[in-house]
């Protein structure tokens, strides 16, 4: 174990800003990307469903 306390862990031996700046931005980016791709998918699915409904109304 490298750390005596949570404070020590956060301080990263004085490199806290750099270490957490790296891991934080990385985590944020890798969390955002799936959200954006999910939105892209639900957008296209919504428009496909809407088109299909419109066609069904036309044929009725």
């Amino acid at each position: 174990m490298n750390w005596g306390s949570a404070g020590e862990f956060l301080a990263m031996g004085g490199y806290g800003l750099y270490v957490w700046g790296s891991f934080g931005v990385c985590a944020l980016a890798l969390a955002m990307e799936p959200i954006l791709v999910r939105k892209r998918r639900s957008d296209i699915l919504r428009s496909l469903r809407r088109e299909r409904m419109a066609e069904e109304m036309e044929t009725q």
Partner: protein, 253 residues
Amino acid sequence: MSNGLINWFRYASPQSFYPLAGKMIPWFWALAALFTGVGLWISFFVAPTDAVQGEGYRIIFIHVPASWMSMFIYCVMAGWAAIGLALNTRLSGMMATALAPTGALMAFLSLWTGALWGKPMWGTWWVWDARLTSELILFFLYIGFIALQAAIDDPRRADKAGAILALVGVVNIPIIYFSVKWWNTLHQGASVSLNKSPSMAQTMLWGMLVMALAFWMYAIAIALMRARAIMLEREAHTEWVRSLPEVTGGSAR
């Protein structure tokens, strides 16, 4: 032998690749989560403090995987581009397009974590040296690929133009990789190489490799997800898309 070939071509059509990718995605997410958990645990709780760089070196556990992925994804993208130019298959263009944003993100993360590592260790966020500059060019190649494809309305023509750009840009990959050997640079040499034993502690090496696996699984999962969305967008007016359960109102997934 011939059966193997037929199967490959079967999955080369978006129609049969779409459900296959859908089945594979959750598995890659699960593996990504597993490797991330183990990798972060090794990164922060197992790997010892570095004798020279103290705790600051821990940036390596994301910097190296992100840099590797930025180069590797580019090679895969260029590979799909080459297949697309040679065989004119629909899937290859979709895969190349799906990989580009993730590759750009990895290149960005490589530069970002590199800057945050460079500041405390070298005393500067950025230097115009060979390794850093060629990685920046890689980032611009991804952005150029995305912008070029976005500027062309016909997806098939966009694929072709993008493919040529991707293939020309491949020359940059060995430049990045060997830059630390070919030029004098602030950047340290390769952490891991095939022909000599790694220049770091075993646990540090393991942490880095597990994190690299995590990035790998993440990249596959997200690229497959994006490829599926692209398939729906491009093939919106085909019968197979219109009869998918998620379109006809079956399940929402």
